[in-house]
Symmetry: C2
Subunit: 632 residues, 2 copies
């Protein structure tokens, strides 16, 4: 087998690969993850590279212009190694994976905060310090029974057990510690297990992580499990995006040889990086992390657990399980204390996962007296409708636009992201960024504001096309369509302009249409109207801010009394945190997942009509949006 060396700049890394290897795989092999929304099919044109030197067999692509092709530009996935190569990777091709992962403020206000307080503190893992009496000739209670007896006097009656490994050297440990030990207890189903026993008082050194594993975005939160306090939060793009931007593409990729292992490795790397980053920034040892709780959609959970997800995309779309057992941390190959345990929010069906159950848990929909709706706006838009009597849920493929992915200048809701925008009569744009930094791009809430303002200022029409008749420096024709300049080169932190173009607007229109039509379809199914809704919780990775008024204006949300709306941020992460901190909350999640009925939009005869009718701003049928007044 002939092998060649491929050198990548500016990363300054080399890798030896067999002749015929594609450059996307070669880059992954040395740890460089390129954007490849289509999963390496040559369709999305995101994995652009520049061949500086050497021989590659490049498949021609209509996504690379002749001029670009001449200066060496090619798609990595369509270029096969034919000799030693020197490759340059433009920053854009790495856009989704830039380090460091962003920071986010904690979103713990309103209903989330109320709900969190309602659950008794009983973390997945807890540490209890015991000062035991020593055995004597008259008190021959064994070391383990001594521990059980003391725990029994501290904890309400519950079955406690342990594994052989904790007994093997207990003898020495007890004598060395003078019978002063810290017991690490993990919840498992309805009982407690002694995960480990440590010498002396280490009871304050007990930390955990809550994670939301989204298709596009991964969010993690470090929790002090001795106090139930949030110590920090991180979000990052899911590294699996290198293998496809949507769930179906990833499942297809998982079915290729090594595909599942690569997807698993990518998200595991995400998690490990976040753990290390958060732990080190808080001065915490990885060995003091004992518990983790994950929420995510069904496909993400399968990939995280290294389980073949193909049943999710094949009729009758029934996965092997929607609920996963508590398991030892080493099963996930995560670098926390090896005695630690990991739990998972249960899901409802292939397309209503633990992230949505976490969301319901976080906002308390399952206890609502009145008709309540939760819409989680992510790569899939999931909607749950109901009250304490019944719940029904559905999902629509919205795409990652509102998460800031797949758009020209989209970014996560982290420092430097435009989160608010106002356009005045002279088309001047005032923006507010997260952390008041120079803008680097636009996050979901920023795009919603911009779309609304473009509509109000007549810069775009109902169809989302830019008004070609307007004369303004901000409006111009780009390569394939028109674009509007949001920030000039000197205003930004990225050394170039930030713009929104008609392709971006098309993407956003489809995303908002998918969410809106899912909400309407669900209401139709139970013969209710939007105005019947007494409470609507909007969740999603928009950061700390979402302008509901503007979201209604563009047709993302129904035009009803604004006071019923509450934006609750990343409710999946909030639910995961609650389930980590309180096993009563986890118990509730186990009730919720069994109570939600799943509605398959694909089988709903009117869904497609609803969706197509919603592909306008705000909608084909303006009577549905009486508060929106368009001038053209």
């Amino acid at each position: 087998m002939q092998e060649f060396t491929v050198y990548f700049s500016p990363q300054d890394r080399s890798v030896k690969v067999a002749k015929g290897t594609d450059l996307l795989s070669a880059a992954i092999k040395c740890g460089i993850v390129l954007t490849a929304a289509c999963g390496g099919e040559g369709l999305c044109g995101k994995c652009r590279i520049v061949i500086k030197k050497g021989k590659a067999r490049v498949e021609a692509s209509r996504l690379v212009s002749e001029a670009d092709r001449k200066r060496g530009v090619a798609l990595a996935c369509q270029s096969l190694v034919e000799g030693d190569l020197e490759i340059e990777i433009p920053k854009e091709s790495l856009g989704m994976h830039e380090k460091p992962p962003g920071e986010s403020e904690e979103f713990t206000k309103g209903v989330i905060s109320e709900r969190e307080k309602s659950f008794a503190f009983s973390p997945l893992v807890r540490k209890i310090y015991l000062e035991l009496t020593k055995p004597t000739a008259d008190d021959g209670t064994s070391d383990l029974d001594r521990i059980y007896a003391e725990l029994g006097s501290r904890i309400d009656h519950v079955h406690i057990s342990t594994k052989l490994s904790n007994i093997k050297h207990l003898d020495e440990l007890m004598r060395e510690s003078g019978y002063d030990v810290t017991v690490i207890l993990g919840h498992k189903d309805d009982s407690l297990e002694i995960l480990s026993i440590e010498t002396g008082d280490t009871s304050k050194m007990c930390f955990g992580f809550a994670f939301d594993i989204g298709t596009t975005t991964v969010a993690g939160q470090l929790i002090d499990l001795s106090a139930g306090k949030i110590l920090g939060t991180r979000i990052a793009f899911n590294k699996q995006a290198a293998f496809g931007s949507d769930i179906i593409t990833r499942i297809v990729y998982a079915e290729t040889p090594e595909g599942l292992a690569k997807l698993n490795g990518a998200v595991t790397a995400n998690i490990d990086e976040m753990i290390e980053d958060l732990a080190s920034s808080c001065g915490i040892n990885l060995s003091d992390i004992y518990g983790m709780t994950f929420a995510g959609n069904m496909t993400m959970m399968h990939l995280l657990l290294n389980i073949d997800p193909s049943s999710i995309r094949r009729a009758p779309y029934v996965p092997a399980t929607t609920a996963f057992p508590v398991m030892p941390a080493p099963e996930l190959k995560l670098e926390i204390n090896p005695k630690g345990v990991v739990s998972f929010l249960p899901g409802v069906a292939s397309y209503i996962g633990g992230d949505i159950v976490a969301g319901v848990l976080a906002c308390g929909l399952e206890e609502a007296k009145d008709l309540t709706l939760l819409a989680d706006i992510g790569t899939n838009g999931e909607v749950v409708l109901g009250n304490r009597e019944w719940m029904m849920g559905t999902a629509a493929s919205a795409g990652p636009a509102f998460e800031g992915s797949g758009l020209g200048h989209g970014m996560k809701a982290v420092k430097g992201a435009i989160e608010k925008a106002v356009i005045d009569e002279r088309f001047d744009v005032k923006t507010q960024t997260i952390g008041d930094a120079k803008p680097k791009g636009i996050c979901g809430s920023g795009y919603i504001d911009i779309l609304c303002q473009l509509l109000k200022r007549n810069i775009i029409g109902k169809d989302g096309k830019i008004n070609r008749e307007i004369k303004s420096d901000r409006i111009r024709k780009a390569a394939s369509c028109y674009e509007f300049v949001i920030a000039s080169k000197d205003q930004t932190a990225i050394g170039k302009e930030i713009v929104i173009d008609e392709d971006d607007i098309e993407n956003l229109k489809r995303a908002k249409g998918a969410v809106y039509s899912a909400i309407i379809s669900l209401l139709n199914k139970v013969e209710r109207k939007p105005s019947d809704l007494k409470k609507v919780y909007i969740a999603g990775g928009f950061g700390n801010y979402l302008n509901i008024e503007n979201a209604v204006y563009i047709g993302l949300l129904p035009d009803i009394d604004r006071s019923v709306y509450e934006f609750i941020g990343n409710s999946s992460l909030a639910g995961a945190r609650m389930a980590l901190i309180s096993q009563a909350a986890m118990g509730k999640a186990n009730d919720i997942y069994r109570k939600i009925m799943y509605l398959d939009l694909g089988s709903e005869p009117n869904y497609m009509d609803e969706y197509i009718a919603s592909l306008f701003f705000p909608h084909t049928d303006l009577r549905r949006f009486p508060s929106v007044r368009l001038s053209r």
Copy 2:
């Protein structure tokens, strides 16, 4: 490091060892286990070998006569390799380990049988065949929830869980099997765990083993877990005897480098051999064995589980635990189905183990209305006294004599063992052997009969010495003491005479004295007399027979109304079987071990006096044995 080859005959095996290795270790290294009651200290003289050729540095020993020394006889543990060697191993040095392991009839009569019937059938592991409905677009229940739902309808409400490994390929398995699967359920604490899922109906293929791990004897029983039936029983000498015959010697050996691993390896080999032997003789695959339950004394359980047992012999004599969790079979490195599980009868204290709790379980002492006693006559003699209100237990070191070990012609209670004997006025001996075979040796019940007959015929006196004045061919002076011939060379299956000598009698006297004085001390402690006993269960590896009358006559058991006595065989094995077949029985065992108070004979001021007074046949104080009439 200089290495030499040692060749052993008649086994025809060779091994390379470093210069200076002792021959006991060299033999073990190639799988030949010599008798070494003292643990290789050169004290017991049991590991005799003959050096046929080559150079060894032999430590002089008073246990090897000058004549023997000249023809190459040496103690293996006292001979260090100095060059290539050819070694012959006399049969006697292997006596305790001869193959094949003996067979024993099932002992399931009387109270054991009654008790066994009282427990509901709920084996440690059970298989349930399910014909499930297939998922459809309208029934999107996940595969696992489908299984849980069906199990829920078949089994009384109980928490059921499973491990990730059973979910990973469930998807394929369900589809391939057409949703007809057999679920293997294991009990764990109060809940059930799906250990494995198999294609089609394999529900009849579910077997288990009950084991009694004794210091001297290991007994195993193969059970059909689908029907609760005994398929076969085996007993064998514990291979750990090569490292010492009593518990303390073994613990000391376990503290030497590699000592624990060797002891663990020895008993694991015992168990594996028995499993293979029984399974193959019943035509059962090892992979269809899913559950095992062990009873044994505390030291045996530590060694089986590879746990350092040193706390058992060091003040305050408190082990790390007396109860062991249910664990996956691979933790014991046993060659049954790797998804199988193993449970253990809990013990009371360092010297009252799970074997005694099993015995109490088997005879139902913990539910007795009247004062009841259980005496388990093994290498340690353990006694439990009490009723349904209270229980107290104690242990005395009896030695392995009644198990047929440590005596000139002692053997296990298997085919060919003399189990009954009568000596007539002319000193002719009539014997009955197990299986009516030509005698190979004498088991415990045979020795008790012989001792009684020797006393009655005045051949031995109260002190156990052979009457030197009697003229008989059967009585003669041997190397160091007098002996009595039980069977002539032509009557036996071993090509030589079977005799009992004064050393054997001394051994048996100490054993019976230890048991008797333990019984009396326990009664004294609670201010009761032997005649207060309403029921006495005698357990031990005597086979199917024990002559209570004779046991009283020699002073092993108190001289009370014979009708209170019931011989119940190996009650540890019976209890292990009950705990394997019924989790209600195991639950009972978990109550029992907490209820038994431990009495330490070492701290009892009068125990030593009692013991010394009992070192006569039947006792110093003949008023205690009014039914025994000695003529001298």
